[in-house]
Symmetry: C2
Subunit: 488 residues, 2 copies
């Protein structure tokens, strides 16, 4: 798949990064002489944050090209995204040029935060495929994209667009009725107006306003929106009760929103200098890195809880895994340790020291044991029938370091197998040079889950495991098998 | 210290829980016959979430009493918090009764979200100590509290109030100029008005609006506010540049904020039924538990990054540790294994068998080791200075099962500590019945990261670890320490 990015600023560059990291080829057109270094900075940020959200391998990165014209950018594109300045005349000119050269099948998305699709579609040859696809900065991390097709939009094109956006990990929100500023920016605009008044009137500084947001309702809104939050405030008496209680406040004179503060030099200077005092100790690059690290952490937290934006990530993983098919490993019948997993180290496994986190090694071995059990015929149905191997104890040794994205493989040597017990020795190696990274010695007991009792495993599985044990008896016993912690 | 809580609903109950968990005695007065069960539900939620934010022991819980009058509640109180309905006449009546019986030193905080302190202070005997102390639901988790003293407020009382609030883990934001709805609620009100219009006009449902928030700017606002976020959008050209670019939008007809929708039955019903469709599959209790688990995770994520609300938590830990005052910050010098983590099993940790996945146990022990290292003074700065403990080997034993949401705690027994080596034995227990779930014996080596060489750790940390080893030498050696896999 190929995406054409017209306008490569913060938003266009964010789109480019997201498409690339999901395996699309990307061509960028932007007349700015700084476009190369700008894109590089965005791609660096994106490359160290977006892949850290996945728990399955991402597809290989697409190819990026910087091109000299819109014509070159849109050639062969499946998706064209315009992120040029918010000026309708400029947008019309750019859209006309895109239409002149883009393939008939291509979707034309606009990043506009304010214009309605009917305004963008004016005078177009094929207006139905021109959609608002409004993302949020940083585009490579935040899933939301507002999709507005308007009355002149083509429903099939809109739905195809949503599928493509989901395939690059986004959450398309279809805005059924076109409206200035779509949905989210109406809220942002409302808060922004109010904030300007508070700064102008010296009620609060930019930093105090930011604290009022991020120490309070901002935390709530990262996981539930406004209505679900207020549903909770209403308690068991329900949402209608809450609204009736809260409703009267609406008519109180609590806001200056009816009026717009004049953005004169004085107010601009005031905001800029307060912002310097608040955040000036960080460069923009540093702030971006901090923001991305925070967002990755928050998103991964929600992912573990399978909630909100984190639920979307799990759904995205499932789609990626289906595409990739889980690595089944090779495995031959020679007296060599049996190969199990082949995969790459995920960015999220690397801790703040730059090392792979301890429990991620165990995760690799745990996934390897799943492969071993499936290899001897113990699939999910076996477990569903009420039997499973439980881990009784394990011994881990850590030998060498490994970096993000490094390919690795694991092997198993079966030391002992009988109907009730399985004693194995796993090794994790770097694929590039076969160096040993870590080992896990493990004892499993075969358990009837309902009673918790150790019982004999199915004959077929036991036979396969015993055959492996017999084969592996010819191998040298691992030097550290039977080792205990602290032994010299 | 004693807090009197007048009005024990969602907000008053949240205050009670926060004070109790930080060791204050709390007396609650609320005429509702359901007050006992309401408080119990809030305390259950709070008890399983607030302590999960601390990495040092919380003080012993205070004593809760339900009393029959305001007079009984405020007797001997250091802080009186009123959270009665938003009706000025009721507030004046309650404040007069509090003033008649509260000690002279007591601070009188009001949870009002809209009234100005000058309105509350009208006709009071001692108006200077009456402050707005406006918290955010859930009060026991969100740090923000807006403090407004107004022109009639006493500055010394206000500052003493802020100190007390910090000691219970809150972030007082002093609003220097009194204003209707203080600061945060002006923003919430602005968004609420806009949201009501969108629902009324069928542009979006409650669920779509919530998604527009939590998949986009809500994630941003959990960690940076509006101005710091826009600073990033302005890029290297700075905040003034951004405002000048964004400014013109203010005069666009992008909002219906100038007008207030009538909250008639039809609109109330529409919102309530959309909210049922969105969230009705969960009870309020379930939603509260989900919200709290999410907030704990987000807050802990920010804590690991020492940013925003997470930075406040680290500051709170430092205050608690200073109060607890022992070599390792334990609070007691008994020869008992040192308590490290207290938290609950996350739903994502449970595998398809219904069991906690093997590597998640190791994750718990890994997190526990982080707490241990921080406890002896090895914070991020220590690692950034180029030194760290590396795990050489571990031995895991799995004893018992544990389900999602079950509270657990971990302990460590230090078996050996010298400048280069640390040999420890971790235990994970279910909090409900103290049953042993798993153990991890681990050997760490102190490494200079650049060279990869084993070197002596900083004296201060070594001394603390050796003191623990000496203390723990009095404990029985764990029966399975030194055990190897498969041994009988």
């Amino acid at each position: 798949m190929k995406a054409a990015i017209v306008g490569g600023g913060v938003i266009g560059g964010g789109w480019a990064a997201r498409f690339l990291l999901y395996g699309w080829d990307v061509a960028v057109f932007d007349p700015s002489p700084k476009i190369g270094s700008q894109l590089e900075a965005i791609l660096t940020n994106a490359g160290r944050s977006l892949p850290a959200l996945a728990d399955v391998p991402m597809p290989p990165r697409g190819k990026l090209s910087l091109v000299a014209s819109i014509e070159d950018a849109v050639a062969g594109a499946d998706w064209v995204q315009e992120s040029v300045p918010e000026d309708l005349a400029i947008k019309h000119k750019v859209i006309a040029e895109i239409e002149a050269h883009a393939p008939a099948r291509a979707i034309l998305g606009s990043s506009t935060s304010g214009f309605k699709p009917s305004q963008l579609q004016e005078g177009a040859q094929e207006p139905g495929r021109i959609l608002v696809a409004h993302p949020f900065n940083p585009v490579y991390l935040l899933p939301l994209v507002e999709i507005v097709a308007g009355a002149g939009g083509d429903v099939a094109a809109r739905d195809a667009a949503c599928d493509m956006l989901r395939s690059i990990g986004m959450a398309p929100l279809i805005v059924r009725q076109e409206i200035d500023a779509h949905i989210a920016d109406r809220f942002l605009e409302a808060v922004w107006r109010e904030a300007l008044w508070l700064v102008k009137d010296d009620v609060a500084t930019t930093e105090e306003i930011d604290d009022a947001i991020r120490y309070g309702f901002g935390l709530r809104w990262a996981q539930m929106g406004m209505f679900e939050t207020y549903r909770l405030a209403g308690g068991e008496e329900g949402m209608a009760h809450f609204i009736r209680q809260f409703g009267p406040c609406l008519s109180w004179p609590w806001t200056k929103l009816m009026d717009v503060p004049e953005l004169d030099e004085e107010l601009v200077d005031k905001i800029a200098s307060q912002s310097d005092a608040q955040s000036g100790q960080y460069s923009i690059r540093e702030l971006e890195a901090i923001r991305d690290r925070n967002l990755v952490g928050i998103l991964r937290t929600l992912k573990e809880r399978n909630w909100g934006a984190g639920k979307l990530l799990n759904e995205s993983d499932a789609r990626l895994a289906e595409r990739a098919r889980s690595p089944a490993g090779t495995g031959d019948a020679d007296a060599a340790p049996l190969r199990l997993l082949e995969s790459t180290v995920l960015p999220a496994w690397i801790d703040y020291n730059g090392h792979m986190t301890e429990f991620r090694y165990v995760q690799v071995f745990s996934d390897s044991s799943e492969v071993l059990f499936r290899r001897v015929g113990m699939h999910d149905e076996y477990v569903e029938s009420g039997f499973s191997y439980y881990t009784a104890e394990t011994h881990n040794q850590f030998y060498d370091e490994v970096g993000a994205d490094e390919p690795y493989y694991t092997t198993v040597q079966v030391l002992l197998a009988d109907p009730k017990r399985l004693h194995v020795f796993f090794r994790m190696h770097a694929a590039a040079d076969d160096r040993l990274l870590a080992t896990l010695e493990a004892m499993y007991l075969h358990v009837e889950m309902a009673s918790g009792k150790v019982v004999a495993a199915a004959d077929a599985a036991t036979e396969k495991l015993m055959a492996l044990a017999e084969l592996h008896a010819a191998l040298e016993k691992p030097a550290s098998a039977g080792r205990f912690v602290g032994q010299r």
